[in-house]
Amino acid sequence: MAWEDRYEMVCGVETHVELATKTKIFCGCSTEFGGEQNTHVCPVCLGMPGVLPVLNREVVHLAIKAGLALNCEIAAFSKFDRKNYYYPDLPKNYQTSQYDLPICGKGWVTIETEGGTKEIGITRAHMEEDAGKLVHSGETIMSSDESYVDYNRTGVPLLEIVSEPDMRSIPEVLAYLEQLVQILQYTEVSDCRLEQGSVRFDVNLSLRRQGAAGFGIRTETKNLNSFSSVRRCLEYETERQAQVLDDGGQVRQETRTWDEGKGITLALRTKEEAHDYRYFPEPDLVPLVIERAWVDKIRSTLPELPAQRLSRYRELGLSDYDAGVLVAAKPLADFFDRALAHFPQAKVLVNWVTGDFLRLLNANQHSIADSRISPEQFAELMGLIDQGVISGKIGKNVLEEMYLTGKDPSLIVKEKNLAQISDEGTLLGIVEEVLAANPRSVEDFRAGKEKAIGFLVGQVMKATKGQGNPGLVNRLLREKMT
């Protein structure tokens, strides 16, 4: 019997997202990914004695922007605090973070699942610095005699976004994460490169009896770095907690870690947990006073957000599926919008963009940024098909040629002499030849077999190398046979 029959899950997520700045939060070292170890470091981010941090203006700007996009209250007064713990990925022995006065307060995100739309509350979002990267000499941290530390990541700015425990199913959690990542990408607060670890999730989960009002005891599983890890972790952890409860036991409130290889969560030993962080105000940084004018100015730069874009696409008549495909990939949706400005038939356009074009990109393992086709050229191709200059079938070949060469579609049509034959005189001659060569089909058609016309159209198209205007060919054939 599935656990859902007896229990309801309650889940909240803490999301750490790397902000898209050029430099670190408190020093001018580069945030670029993939540099040689310990080459993006300076006395400030290495925690040398006597150094002073200076806050990066862009970090505050992006944090406010994210907060606005997540419908958060933006604090008028905010400060940093020290979170103290000993771990070698943190050269200062404390992380500069925000405790009681975060930059963003309560907000919400709207998600859509099969169950309908729902608001997921945001508790808060605060700025902090990332820690360094540890490489262990043994297979695991427990079996290692020593560890190697790269401080390039130390001081990279993060926004930690804390959700309310509002999610009640795994699809809701995934919808929230997808929506959150889309919003952060649309606002360009973060590039959200999950494969580079620029977004990490901590998942809080508890179960309660169906119909119960209070919350059960929760566990927190830390450092999940992909949607599929979150899904698998929740599948495992819900089953595990249900088993504990079914056996009459109590879930232990603890921090757990996800073992990607084994597909299980494991309790961290209590010694590794340092919940006693002894937060206190950071004396090396003065507070932030955030004027309304600054917030309003940032608000005015907010782009169309994914939910708005989705409803605009639906109003254009796109299917939920097509609209979803576009919105999920902002560069593709941007491409679509730019092409749409020149060729305003949304439904025709979306079929080509999410169909043949996406197929070409995928087949070549290209992203849209690699494509040599501009949205304007794409719109021009659509126009050529729409005006009957070329058929849709020829259009597919032209698209492939454009993809390879980057040439304008009209040039390709001209160079390869692909234009559709719409001249009645030219087509009439071919139609008569085909009729003369196929008396059986003509007889069938006259006897009422409508299907026979398809064969005859095919023969004319073959004779014109696919360039005959199909509508015109059809009409001429009918006229000649009746």
Partner: protein, 94 residues
């Protein structure tokens, strides 16, 4: 608030300090007298005084998002007690 021996042991553990028995005694006493002294502040009337976030009358000290040169790897590692292949090397963590 009174600081007890277990408090001192706990704080010492968090700070990775190994204290001897006489030291635990001594620090328990000293920390208590420090707190007693600081408790004088509780005699002040702070009605209508907002909490202090910082002692300096400054706010919004910000820098622009412009890259500055970092240290060369060799220099970054110069003070490291132990290093290898450009990494800081640290003893077993847990």
């Amino acid at each position: 608030m009174k600081i007890s021996r277990p408090d001192v042991e706990h704080v010492a553990m968090l700070a990775r300090l190994e204290l001897t028995e006489p030291e635990i005694e001594m620090f328990t006493e000293q920390l208590n007298s420090i707190l007693e002294y600081a408790a004088l502040l509780e005699q002040l009337n702070t009605d209508g005084v907002s909490p202090t976030a910082h002692v300096l009358p400054l706010h919004n000290v910000l820098r622009e998002d412009v890259t500055q040169p970092s240290l060369e790897q060799e220099r970054a590692l110069m003070n490291a007690p132990d290093a290898e292949n450009g990494f800081f090397r640290v003893p077993r963590i847990v």
